[in-house]
């Protein structure tokens, strides 16, 4: 079967999972991501301390039995803050990916199905969005709507739209000329039906890989925005803001900068490893060189 794009193959999702779990990168990534996910989930029901509890007398304590990761400049428990911060980071990145998928994928599929002017204008729109450095647009968006977790989601989500549109368009365009699609067209199915029944299921794994990558980028972006003071607002803890606050405390409490940074590294690393593992399975060209 001749494929116009050698990078795109079609595999059932079930096989992908079975193959992925044999990849050490994927498994390591899964473990790391699960740790962060678990921390976030536990924080919904329990944290060692109340994250908004300000106890000035307890401030800047180094790690000990009562505070495993120490306390920050307000005497708040850093472990508890990291747990709740995990929840915030995941939520922001996940919803931002959701925005990208829900708006970007239909746009991409539409462009691939229609071609012509619709496709061309969509690609121009993509180019314009990509012409703005991502962080710069996020800063401008939060300047218009004010800082906050919701606006951080919007700012990051807007960037995911063209990404998913591009992936969906490339995937759909690779599938359209294939025999079973031709057969479906001959059977009189509409483009909409074909997209829903054949195109989407066959490129699901592409979207999953891209989703993993955008998820990790989303966590980094959220950390960057909240570092600049444009993400989730106090008292709700966020990793980026914890680092911004720690930066001013470095001369007296360097431990405050250690753990939030590690949390970011672990979650981004975990997601990237998972994405790599998946890609190795799905992209025979790259796997060959492994």
């Amino acid at each position: 079967m001749a494929l116009p794009n050698p990078n795109i193959t079609v595999l059932p999702t079930r096989d992908v999972w079975a193959m992925a779990t044999r990849s050490p990168a994927f498994v390591t990534g899964l473990i790391l991501t699960s740790i962060i996910l678990l921390l976030g989930l536990i924080s919904l029901v329990w944290t060692p301390y109340d994250v908004s509890l300000v106890t000035i007398a307890e401030r800047l304590k180094t790690p000990s039995h009562s505070h495993l990761f120490g306390t920050d400049h307000f005497g708040r428990d850093i472990l508890s803050m990291i747990m709740v911060g995990a929840r915030n980071s995941i939520a922001v990145a996940l919803v931002a990916v959701g925005i990208g998928v829900i708006i970007g994928v239909p746009l991409g599929c539409w462009a691939a199905a229609r071609g012509g002017l619709i496709d061309a204008s969509l690609m121009r729109g993509n180019d314009v969005v990509f012409a703005f450095p991502a962080l710069l647009s996020a800063v401008m968006i939060t300047a218009i709507f004010g800082p906050g977790a919701v606006n951080a989601i919007i700012a990051i989500g807007i960037f995911n739209i063209p990404v998913f549109a591009r992936v969906a368009r490339a995937g759909a365009m690779a599938i359209w000329p294939r025999d079973f699609i031709l057969a479906a067209r001959a059977a009189g199915k509409s483009r909409m039906q074909i997209t829903l029944e054949h195109i989407l299921p066959n490129m699901m794994h592409l979207l999953i890989v891209q989703g993993t990558i955008q998820f990790s980028l989303g966590i980094l972006a959220e950390a960057g925005l909240s570092y600049l003071g444009l993400g989730a607002q106090p008292p709700s803890p966020s990793w980026g803001r914890m680092l911004a606050e720690a930066q001013t405390m470095m001369s007296i409490g360097p431990h405050t900068a250690l753990f939030p940074g590690l949390a970011i590294v672990i979650s981004v690393l975990g997601l990237n490893l998972m994405g790599d593992g998946l890609r190795d399975v799905l992209d025979p060209k790259l796997s060959r060189s492994k």
Binding site: V54, I56, G148, Q233, Q247, S251, I252
Partner: protein, 508 residues
Amino acid sequence: MLDPLGLKSWILTMHYRAKIALILASSFIAFPAVSFAAARTDLVIGIALEPPNLDPTAGAAAAIDEVTYANLFEGLTRINQSGEVEPALATSWDISADGLTYTFKLHTGVKFHDGADFTADDVKFSIDRAMAKDSTNAQKALFDGITAVTVVDPATVTLTLSKPVGSLLYNLGWGDAVIVDAASAATNAEKPVGTGPFKFDNWAKGSAITLIKNPSYWGTPAMLDKVQFRIIADPAAATAALLSGDVQVFPNFPAPEAVPQFQSDARFTVAIGTTEGETILSTNNKKPPFDNLKVRQAIAMTIDRQAVIDGAMFGQGIPIYTHFAPHNPAYTDLSAMYPRDVVKAKALLAEAGFPAGFKATLKLPPVTYARRGGEIIAAQLREVGIELEIIPVEWAQWIDQVFTNKDYDLTIVSHTEPNDINIYGRKDYYFQYANAKFDEVMAKLDATADPAMRNTLLGEAQKIITEDAVNGYIFQLAQTGIHDAKVMGLWENAPIQAIDLTAAHWME
């Protein structure tokens, strides 16, 4: 103790080796320092905020005055470090018996930095320009009451007033009232030309402003050849710059958390002074539920001022209970009116109809005292059931939303103007406070000249606003100056926002 790896002894051996290395290294490093020791004539001053321009007559930012006041520009009078009025470009003045005519005798032989002569015409030009209808002077009110500026001869100028203004000489000493030359007035914002002991050399935007000694200064010449104002907003960078000696003076050090480190270091002098900045939890007195006196009283009783000072400012600041600076002779101690009492505060809230508390917003401008203080205040108010949503805003939004449109519940801001209790009488001020009794006291105050009587009236005014719990009064902002212990002649207090370097010098 067991030390199977011999780690300890190894470290101890290294300890001595390293000591020798250290001695060698330090003797090497000490070399350049020796040649400096004789007489340093350069000084680097750290400032946290960059001035938007360098024309004190066209901008409100304190940073403009910090760089230019007394160093680059001078007025007819000036304010010294004790807050008193002194002659500057005017040698002396006569005030007519009715207080409506001021005649100033000017220094002769004074030249602007570009070589132009300073004359009475420049005085007329500067004051007329500041008072003009299209003037962009941020403190136009300083010139209220002046009806005419008349040039008598090149060294004499008269100001005619429509009503006596007791503070005129003080007003003319402000940075906004300095004398500029007509030829250079338009370009002062980027290339200031004044009469001061220093002249402008260079401004690398975002980095530093350099001034050099004015060799043809009319008065006592400056003792330094070159001063540089280096813009360092980052607390960690400010700490590192002082420690490394790159910056030798930080008149308003931006990192209260690092101060103890400098206090215990003999190489530095730390001066913690007071400012005119009352840091308050400004309250929208017309917006429910804050229009209810009991709610405001409950807030006043919940705030733990010392915890805010310790937590946000690392102990630097003085608790206040009214809108007045504690170092002012007219200050009245009202700490006993609403002492901290969480139980009573909850009872008051219940009486006001909020037994379970309520939700409100707290808008915080981008300054450390507000951002950190706000988090602590929010945690304290949570104790009585008031849930505050923190909304950080930039100054642009703060002025737009809070100050102009009064679209806020609570905010934290420092009111840094001296003697500004009269803002409580202003119609439509952002507190949205109105009390006829207070206005009456203010009217009486305006008509009173006797200092003792004035202090009594000011005390009354303080009591009224504290009783009404108009705002949450938190603390008087401290000014933390840190400088190299060998630098002399700096101001210890800052009655106005200035970094006067005319007498600064290095000790031998």
